[in-house]
Amino acid sequence: MSDDIVLATQGLTRRFGGLVAVNEVDFDVKAHEIHAILGPNGAGKSTLINLLSGEIPPSEGQVLYRQKAIQGKSARQIARLGIGRSHQKTNIFPRLSCLQNCELAARIHMGGVLGSWRSRHTAQQVSERAQEVLETCQLNHRAHTTASDMSYGEQRQLQIAMVLATAPSLMLLDEPMAGMGREETAQVTELLASLTDRYTLVLIEHDMDSVFRLANRITVMVDGCVLESGPTEQIRTSDKVRDVYLGRHDEGVTA
């Protein structure tokens, strides 16, 4: 395995009863790249992310993170190894401020909420970490705003900030642009583009403008299997991918 590969799967399979949601998937992610996973709804993309993040165990196959097998570890153990994830639905605490949401994520990562309250040193680390990720996500001006009072786009940015607060080196992002208007999408796209110096990103997204702007490589899944994997330009012009996913026309304008 090449040294610059941080995450790889080999024969990864997940069955739900008779349904094979992920079927012998081999793919790999290189350090500091944005690797997009595309595919029709029901192709197995979110299940793949759930397998990588430890939320569900595989039926067969391996997940290698920095060349060590991690399949079977819990989501918490995998998060501690440096793999963070965001979900399709916005998962924030609406009554807490933007800063408090990030502090909570950092606290949980640093050893549990109660334990970290007691240590002044940890509390300072938590606070610094939360401030830092808010700045990275350009939300520092909203630090003391209650999350429920923020726009939908800002709430999605906050969710990314909360993942960053857990100090990952690799982030699994499940449709971070879902439900966003054009301007919000552009803002989050630029945010993600700015992260690649420090992080590796695996991205599920249906907004093709963002995917083609961001991704270095793309893996396309259909019916649980890998249809094609390669550099973005190869996937963009692939007839197979056009037939099953992209269609054969330009996308319309979105608000």
Binding site: P40, N41, G153, A178, G179, G181, H206, G247, G252, A255
Partner: protein
């Protein structure tokens, strides 16, 4: 836009003011929809599009203002009673029950229209959405996002509505599935069913809907036809970010 005074509007909402707790969300919104018309609600996230729909349907009853469905006031009536006046609702998030099958969703909702007719049978819904036929015995939880959306639309059609309300009908769907949903919306329109649509694809909305309502912070900034919007690109740019 002129309307024929002799025809009763399907929806007539006047001066809607809606609140979530103390938060004043709608500020005097007017909506008129005539039979056979397709109306889009435009605006950025958080501007009041979904709340307008929920106010019309009684989920968020307006504190001030009046709503009439087919000329009948909705005051003090429950959402399910309003739906029985011929409204099919496809909510944001789809509203699919995870533990019951596709077939059960379609049987559960089916009823004739107010005239006793059943143009949309389960068979016709399955002809329109062949993928649902392939998944007929699968529970809602096992359906993909696109299949759930088709089921949500199909379920609304089995109520044989005069008006379909679709809130973010194509959100979170793959490009080809989005195309399929838009084609189905065109088919629904061609059958004469009125439609109110919330979506983010402006091109498709300008093509499919003949009337548009642009909401900004709970107020109507534009009410008119597609040509009026096309002639006013500044409006789209300022309030939707579409250059």
């Amino acid at each position: 836009m002129t309307t024929d005074a002799t025809v009763t509007p399907l929806i007539e909402a006047r001066g809607l003011h809606a609140y979530y707790g103390e938060s004043h969300v709608l500020h005097g919104v007017d909506v008129t929809l005539m039979p056979g018309e397709t109306l889009s609600l435009l605006g950025r996230n958080g501007m009041g599009k979904t709340t307008t729909l929920k106010s019309i349907l009684g989920f968020v009853p307006p504190r001030r203002g009046d709503v009439y469905i087919k000329g009948v006031s909705t005051a003090k009536r429950r959402p399910w009673q309003l739906m029985r006046q011929g409204i099919g609702y496809v909510p944001e998030g789809r509203g699919i029950f995870p533990g019951i099958s596709v077939r059960e969703h379609l049987i559960m909702a089916a009823r004739p229209n107010e005239r006793g007719e059943t143009p949309w049978t389960m068979e016709r819904v399955l002809d329109t959405f062949p993928r649902l036929g392939q998944r007929i015995n699968h529970d809602g939880a096992l359906l993909s996002g696109g299949e759930q959306q088709m089921l949500s639309i199909g379920r609304a059609l089995t109520t044989n509505p005069d008006l379909m309300i679709l809130d973010e009908a194509t959100e979170g769907l793959a490009p080809l599935i989005r195309d399929e949903i838009w084609n189905i919306i065109r088919t629904i329109k061609a059958t004469g069913i009125s439609t109110i649509i919330v979506d983010k694809n402006i091109d498709n909305l300008l093509e499919v809907a003949e009337k548009h309502l642009l909401l900004v912070k709970g107020e109507v900034k534009y009410s008119g036809d597609s040509q009026g919007l096309r002639n006013n690109p500044g409006l789209l740019e300022t309030h939707l970010g579409v250059a």
